[in-house]
Symmetry: C2
Subunit: 457 residues, 2 copies
């Protein structure tokens, strides 16, 4: 890896001051990290780096799961940590304008104070920044109700590779004036521009929450149950999380931290939740609909929660992914497949895993969004083979025309798998976009596409 030149560093220091340049050697993250305080400074940085051909990695909370924030070729880090203001919360238009370095939890709490909901939630909420969240089109726990991040962004400010500032801080729900350029940058993982400001759409805060854990006998019933509930809880279904028995029964095994709310032995365990606006009526309807589903034979057993503690207990089972690391060395995969093939997809994975020594195969996920997390590994450290497990899983994803990345993006970690989910024509089109917006390939190079691949395209 080449280092940034002394001249470039000198120029950057003049722009940003000593406080704006941090140097700390690191094995994976960039050694030199710039800390601009304004969009103008980001623009100045990009002009300097563009002229010098100096590559950059935009840095948010560094919580990404696809290593999109790693250095690969002597990149300078461009951290938005000092651009973290909430510039405005507009209660009339129900929008929030934040700088890219603002941390998710801070934004969520600021909206809450005004009785509004920023409906985005996932584990890294205390570290992830909105710039990174937009750049990776994050998902999380309530996508079924509120959509991905893309559905929450009304406006963006982006600095292009050459330093051009494109300010497009739209607050209107409808705006068909030419190409919707913000869409180009959402989910582009910092490879097409540096996001500096974001306008987010806020929602009314729900006043009721109903949660249940259900046992279901077979997969066709799981699909029917999803549609049944969605149709009978109009617009309020906010979670439909499925745990295969290997997940549920391990997390709630004897001696674990969790008591099983439903006995072991079922084929599927489903956590369902609605977020509504009428506590009494919603609770009654929730119970009624689940009762009807049981009469229809769509579910075998159910536990409804009647307190926040009970609700938390169920969510803690679903969220205790770290516990799985006690099984042995594992890889957590984040993939999508369509519901019609999902059952066979899982059967095929198990069959392939069962041919390996001491296999670990645990499956759960946001089934309402077609998104599964597949945990593969071996109880035998010697037998654990990272490359072989990746190959095994992604071969099956490709066979079922699934997505190698449901919500974590491509970054560095999944770059070699991208062709499994995208055609040659799609990849060509993406690379053409990259070349147009970043002809010197200085913005997060080697992420999504290797520099050589782009050069050869």
């Amino acid at each position: 890896m080449s280092e940034p030149s002394a001249e470039v560093l000198q120029e950057l220091r003049q722009q940003l001051g000593d406080d704006g340049v941090r140097i700390q050697p690191d094995a994976v993250l960039p050694d030199v990290v710039l800390r601009p305080q304004s969009t103008a400074q980001v623009s100045a940085i990009l002009k300097i780096c563009s002229a010098a051909g100096q590559p950059l990695v935009p840095l948010g909370g560094r919580t990404g799961m696809a290593n999109g924030h790693y250095q690969t070729c002597g990149e300078i880090g461009l951290s938005l940590e000092r651009m973290n203001a909430i510039e405005e919360i507009d209660p009339d238009n129900r929008t929030m304008t934040v700088q890219a370095g603002c941390i998710l939890q801070v934004a969520v709490e600021a909206a809450e104070e005004l009785g509004l909901l920023l409906p985005l939630d996932f584990g890294a909420r205390g570290s992830a920044t909105l710039g990174g969240i937009v750049a990776t089109n994050a998902g999380g726990n309530r996508v079924i109700r509120y959509g991905m991040l893309r559905d929450m962004v009304l406006g963006l400010e982006v600095v292009l590779a050459d330093g051009t500032v494109v300010t497009s801080l739209n607050k209107m729900l409808k705006n068909n004036t030419g190409y919707d350029i913000k869409q180009w940058f959402i989910g582009a993982e910092g490879t097409l521009g540096v996001i500096t400001r974001v306008v987010l759409r806020l929602r009314p805060t729900p006043s009721s929450q109903n949660t249940a854990l259900l046992a279901v006998d077979d997969f066709p019933a799981v699909i029917k149950l999803l549609h049944w509930l969605d149709a009978r809880t109009a617009g309020t279904l906010s979670a439909f999380e499925v745990m295969w028995p290997d997940f549920y029964e391990y997390i709630t095994r004897d001696g674990s931290l969790h008591r099983p709310p439903l006995p072991h032995g079922s084929a599927y365990y489903v956590l369902v939740e609605t977020l509504g606006s009428n506590p009494a009526v919603d609770a009654e309807n929730f119970e009624l609909v689940l009762g009807e589903a049981m009469e229809e034979g769509l579910l075998a057993d159910a536990v409804l929660t009647h307190s926040q503690a009970e609700r938390n207990a169920i969510w803690e089972i679903r969220d205790d992914v770290l516990e799985l690391f006690k099984l042995g060395p594992i890889i957590p995969f984040d993939i999508s497949v369509t519901l019609d093939v999902m059952e066979n997809f899982v059967v095929d994975i198990r069959a392939a895993m069962n041919k390996l020594p001491d296999p670990i195969c645990v499956i759960f996920g946001h089934l309402g969004d077609s998104n599964l997390h597949v945990i593969l590994g071996s109880r035998n450290h010697q037998a654990f083979d990272y490359d072989a497990l990746q190959q095994l899983l992604y071969d099956i994803v490709e066979h079922y025309r699934g997505s190698v990345s449901a919500e974590h993006g491509i970054g560095l970690a999944k770059r070699e798998q991208l062709h499994r989910s995208r055609s040659a024509q799609e990849l060509q089109l993406m690379m053409a976009m990259k070349k147009m917006l970043d002809p010197k390939n200085i913005l997060n190079p080697n992420k999504i596409f290797a520099a050589e691949t782009i050069a050869a395209a």
Copy 2:
């Protein structure tokens, strides 16, 4: 305007057969219209036209409001009318795959037969095709609940200017594998590629519908009422349509086809509707919430509907836009402004109009989406001045940082207004995209941007 050359026509005829080429001279639409039957034929057409530099206008239902389907420089028409199949409805994944020429109403009815909802509805439903609807990112009557067309598209197939077919028929709700290229083409009005197939997301069909007409005393109360209802009808609010008195009182005037459900004399009339899943409970809650809103002073009067006939009567008032043409020569404008400035925006328009002779100024719209329709004209045919009215309205839109096109797009009709809503940097970026994807400017040239503007950029 130049004509297509005899050689090009001959080549096209060889590809498509005589049936595939229709010639009918027309003042505004292209004289030569191609009628491909497959994506392969669309690709062949684009290869021929690209080689010859022959421009094309993609044609759907020709119902666009921004003249995006007009000829400007001897374009050939590329009609998708024979590619109108519903290829698949997938009830497990709740998706529908259609060819671009499929008419909206046909698709809606096919989904209905399987108990599913394609939640898109507007006046031209019987003619508009899904290719055109995607290309213009159509909105309509239920955007507040289900979003714009962009929110309903999961996958696309597009043919690029050089004939490359990009098939990206994703059906998964979560798929973060590289750039989301379908977003580039949605709303691009056929200037970046020809849409040939679409995967649409379907929803459960609502089983309850509650509709009311409300009278509100002032604009701050209108905004509060929107937020009040949205918070108390979780996820089910599907319409919040506001009529200023000039609209409501004219449409329900003595001697008109419509009886006024509420007496004249209020400051604002609001049509609200929810689409839910629990007929008995939803009706009760709807009445309760409106009662509470009245106690809070958010509304002055209300009429709830108790039959489909009563519901239709209210919607027919809102939808009877054609009646306004009886006032005199008028221009209907489709714009957005944010809610915080909307009241002043309307005050300014009225003040400016009142300086003109015999003014007509009628305002209504999808307020829940920040989208107003502003109808301006003169009762005096001699005094009607198209250019002056455009100038007057768009000056005020620009002053309030509004959008010159909320849902109708730019096409030819609003091209000269685009700069009022988009910065020079945004326009440069759009033109760079256009040049990249269509370097010879053969795809719907002169729409969104004039050919000379792109050439000079």
